[in-house]
């Protein structure tokens, strides 16, 4: 960098940070601050009510407003989010799926209102519903209508906002859910094929524009710590996509067959124990997706070192941005041609990954494609099985995780001695302020225009017209996120995806597991029936991997498990617990809304006369909150550092034994 003669360098990828919280105003300030520090693109995190189609004042939104992202309930929120940012020059990525068409409509409307030509808008709506069913859980509608929304957006944007990526096919969350690299590649390709087939079948998209459509499909990958394998994965996907788009869709222009992808490096592998080590993990993972010039990511977002502890602060996010800047500007990475062309090891591993992925892809296509493999639970069960193998390997020590199951002796980290100060605490008044501003918005809009716009939207839905134009009109008229989603719910209905935990696996044969099994048998005999556990996911958070692993393990040790999937209200959980006569309840929450939801469940249990049923909780729960939960009567609190499921099961048996002894 201080060389007098600067060598020729490639242009770096786009630097992003996945961020947003509290309100549109607070997030706008954060974005401007980040851009000022050298970030080159935005990645908008929306809160769960916005992602699942509820206004901030909906009962299900309680405790979730502004928590994991920014609330956007209407056009004024969207306009405020991008206030004083040049929309015609920004590259904005939005992590939005079930309500993607609506957020795109709001974004286009905000541009129009500020005098920017929508044709200039650049960015990405994630818009990948398959991985929502499989892993992330913010779906609303059944697969058929969801695919229609996606193909509507593709058809619309190809002509009206040609620089927009209407869908970002995500394999990121599949790896989080436990996918092996071959599964990650295969399911992403199956998903992209499902989207392209749906678009190709449309009458309003001429065959001649299919190559342009193919050229707009981008991907969103995960990068784990096995970074050599990640290098090969990127290369395998680049080659496979080139082949699939050529052979299946007849795309002749190689530029339109380019595999374009963004990356968020792995959060699953970030540890709560010795969290400073995560910085090293993040650096190596970033290297994996930038190393290969031939398969380099187009955009990169890095998590913060403390994400297993809670929400990162601006300083934590800045540290991650600096990693990107050092990699791109200080090192000589961008001065060379591809480093791996001709490497026998990399080429062999790439070929093997391609072969395994092709095999799995053919299996999925054989059973009817990605949507069929969602509905029949095939992909979900494969992921749950892979994840179970992974958690077992960590428990047994076959998979080393430094600071977690090896080298656990450590000095106290000066980074975390601050307690509550080492993470971001969302201002609890943010929810109230957002609700008040929403009410004020509703008062100042023209109700007749809103009603007319909603009628227009419903008509388009019924007639099979493209949903995007009437959504843009609805955005201008002042329709809210909840109203838009409700109009769609009426026509499409709602969906519950298979949980996949019914997958049949051989039992864990470790002596520790066998000991817990014996204790379960013993206590079940005393109780007169097997220990019955309810695994519940209250609230809007759809990250169900943890709950699924608990359910699978509980069955493995001989318990009867009631697991009804994600997004349950505290009322529903309490009714299930009572009807099912369970001995213990395990709640899982990762969105940070544990304070409100867990306490709500406990209160309702008492009201229902089931206050003696013990409750354990798992999630990303800072110690100060854990203390509060224990004070409210929660028997045990588990956080990401509790990787040993067998031990957790043993403790749950203790909890049941104690509660029976007390009864």
């Amino acid at each position: 960098m201080s060389d007098p003669v600067a060598p020729k360098r490639d242009r770096p990828w786009v630097f992003r940070t996945y961020s947003g919280h509290s309100s549109a105003r607070a997030s706008n300030a954060l974005y401007r601050n980040n851009l000022g520090k050298g970030q080159t693109g935005l990645s908008v995190a929306f809160d769960l009510p916005t992602q699942t189609g509820f206004d901030s004042d909906h009962p299900l939104a309680r405790g979730e407003v502004g928590k994991v992202g920014v609330p956007v309930s209407h056009l004024d929120d969207m306009a405020l989010l991008f206030e004083d940012l040049p929309l015609d020059r920004m590259n904005t990525s939005m992590t939005i799926n079930a309500t993607a068409a609506w957020m795109l409509a709001l974004y286009v409307a905000a541009a129009e209102r500020s005098g920017v030509d929508p044709k200039l808008l650049q960015g990405t709506t994630q818009n990948d519903i398959v991985k929502e069913y499989l892993s992330r859980g913010t779906y609303i509608f059944p697969p058929g209508p969801s695919m229609r929304l996606i193909s509507d957006m593709v058809a619309y944007s190809v002509s009206a906002i040609p620089k927009w990526n209407p869908i970002n096919v995500c394999s990121y969350h599949l790896q989080e859910a436990g996918a092996t690299p071959a599964q990650e590649v295969a399911y992403a390709m199956a998903n992209a094929i499902a989207v392209l087939d749906a678009v190709r079948a449309r009458e309003d998209v001429p065959d001649s524009s299919i190559p342009q459509v193919v050229g707009r499909i981008s991907f969103f990958l995960n990068a784990g710590i096995r970074f050599v394998e990640e290098i090969c994965k990127g290369r395998a996907m680049t080659e496979l996509w080139d082949e699939i788009t050529r052979d299946r869709y007849g795309v002749e222009d190689p530029k339109l067959r380019r595999f374009r992808y963004g990356v968020q490096v792995n959060s699953l592998g970030l540890t709560e124990a010795q969290p400073e080590n995560n910085v090293i993990r993040i650096v190596l993972e970033a290297l994996g997706v930038t190393f290969s010039k031939n398969a380099r990511c187009r955009a990169l977002q890095l998590p913060a070192w403390n994400e297993a502890l809670g929400l990162p602060r601006p300083w934590d996010q800045q540290w991650s941005l600096r990693i990107q800047q050092i990699l791109a500007y200080e090192t000589d990475l961008l001065e060379y041609d591809d480093l791996f062309d001709g490497s026998r090891a990399v080429e062999a591993q790439t070929a093997e990954l391609k072969r395994a992925a092709r095999e799995e892809l053919d299996r999925v296509i054989e059973m009817g494609g990605a949507i069929a493999a969602v509905e029949n639970a095939y992909m979900k069960q494969q992921l749950v099985a892979s994840h179970t193998r992974r958690t077992r390997a960590i428990e047994s020590g076959d998979l080393t995780v430094v600071g977690v199951n090896a080298y656990t002796e450590a000095e106290e980290s000066p980074l975390t001695t601050g307690g509550a100060q080492s993470i971001l605490v969302v201002d609890e008044s943010a929810e109230r302020a957002q609700v008040e501003s929403l009410e004020a918005f509703r008062r100042r809009r023209n109700d007749a225009e809103v009603a007319a716009a909603l009628r227009g939207l419903s008509d388009a839905l019924a007639n099979g017209d493209n949903v995007v134009p009437p959504s843009i009109r609805a955005a201008h008229a002042g329709v809210t996120t909840g109203e838009w989603a409700d109009a769609l719910r009426v026509v499409f209905g709602e969906y519950r995806a298979p949980t996949g935990v019914g997958v049949r696996l051989a039992g864990d044969l470790s002596p520790e597991t066998e000991r817990v099994r014996e204790r379960v048998r013993g206590l079940s005999d005393e109780l007169g029936r097997p220990i019955k556990i309810l695994v519940g996911k209250p609230g809007l958070d759809g990250h169900s991997n943890g709950a699924e692993q608990i359910a699978v393990k509980a069955r493995d040790v001989g318990m009867e498990v009631v697991y009804e999937g994600i997004r349950l209200t505290p009322e529903e959980i309490v009714q299930s617990a009572r009807d099912e006569g369970v001995h213990v309840i395990g709640l899982s929450i990762l969105s940070g809304s544990h304070g409100v939801l867990v306490v709500d469940v406990m209160e309702r249990l008492r009201e229902a006369g089931a206050g003696d049923v013990p409750v354990v909780v798992g999630g990303i729960i800072p110690e100060v909150d854990a203390q509060k939960l224990r004070a409210a009567g929660v028997q045990r609190v588990y956080t990401p550092k509790d990787f040993d499921l067998t031990r957790i099961m043993g403790e749950i048996v203790d909890v049941v034994a104690e509660s029976c002894a007390a009864a």
Binding site: P142, E375, N376, A377, G493, E494, R496, P498, T499, V501, G502, R504, A506, G507, R517, R521, R529, P530, K532, A551, A554, R555, D556, V557, G558, M559, E560, V561, V562, Y563, E564, G565, T569, E571, E572, Q575, S576, D579, E580, G581
Partner: protein, 288 residues
């Protein structure tokens, strides 16, 4: 208590309807739609979901298939999942007890179970009407016919009728296969209905078919006979599980039990299990 419940239960009492079919056939979705329909008329509904246990560890996953969302805030819907615990041989005592209790407290009881094969013949004695949910295009019904289980269901519901052609094909396969079963004894020809919980197709017809079957079995005296056979199966299976065929022989096996139960119809199945258990234990203590 169970004895008293069974003894004092008015006849015919709450209809007991079995819902069975392969995994993924759409049983839960169909059940959800049925429950919504029944709740709209004010009927209270209980669902007993019976799952096969994992044989290796004894653990079981319950409720995974229950996606009856309408139950959330409605005390008129009760869902209890149960493991068919000591499987291989019959439905568990728990299921018998569960259905007896639920029938005393709710207007209608559904018994839902997964699988093709053994589980149908298991739940058939528990219920008054058995509905088989066929999954279009899956080939499951072929297995079903091969397994010789076609004579058990009283109603066939071909799900996902909105799929069109493949649902029609499955329906016509079932219609032709149905003709091969001799139903002279019951004079009931099981209807084959195309249903879709998604667009509501056939839901009214399905409810009507359930009512028609109940009327038919009541008027022809078949329901009483069916309940009697169910009670007998409960006694025989409970004893077989506790004492094996060897123990069962000590009280005359199934025909002997049948005779004694017919002679004293006022005694309930739960009472019979107690009485005969004592007799078997006494007999086993003496040298043969």
């Amino acid at each position: 208590m169970l004895d008293a419940l069974e003894r004092n239960a008015p006849f015919p009492g709450a209809p007991r309807v079995g819902i069975t079919g392969a995994p993924g056939a759409g049983k839960s979705t169909l059940l959800d739609a049925l429950v919504r329909g029944l709740r709209a008329t004010g009927e209270t509904v209980a669902i007993a979901a019976i799952d096969p246990s994992s044989l290796t560890t004894g653990g079981a996953l319950l409720g995974d298939r229950i996606r009856v969302r309408s139950s959330g805030r409605d005390p008129g819907v009760f869902i209890r999942s149960m493991a068919a615990r000591d499987r291989l041989g019959g439905i568990s005592d728990v299921a018998w007890a569960g259905v007896t209790i639920l029938a005393a407290a709710f207007d209608r009881v559904f018994v839902e179970t997964v699988g093709v094969g053994q589980s149908e013949s298991d739940i058939a004695p528990l219920v008054d009407t058995l509905v088989y949910v066929a999954n279009p295009g899956s080939g499951d019904e072929l297995q079903y016919m091969k397994a010789g289980l076609l004579e058990l269901p009283d109603v066939f519901a071909v799900s996902k009728a909105d799929l069109g052609a493949s649902a029609d094909r499955t329906a016509s396969e079932l219609e032709s296969a149905r003709g091969l079963v001799d139903r002279a004894a019951t004079a009931w020809s099981p209807p084959v209905l195309r249903v879709s919980a998604r667009d509501g197709t056939g839901m009214a017809e399905l409810l009507a078919a359930l009512d028609a079957h109940r009327r038919h079995t009541l008027e022809a005296g078949l329901l009483e006979e069916r309940r009697r056979r169910g009670a007998r199966a409960h006694v025989v299976e409970s004893l077989r599980r506790r004492y094996g065929s060897h123990g069962l022989e000590r009280v005359g096996s199934a025909p002997g039990i049948d005779e004694r139960m017919s002679a004293e119809p006022q005694r309930t199945s739960f009472a019979w299990v107690e009485v005969l258990s004592r007799e078997i234990e006494d007999a086993l203590r003496k040298p043969a």
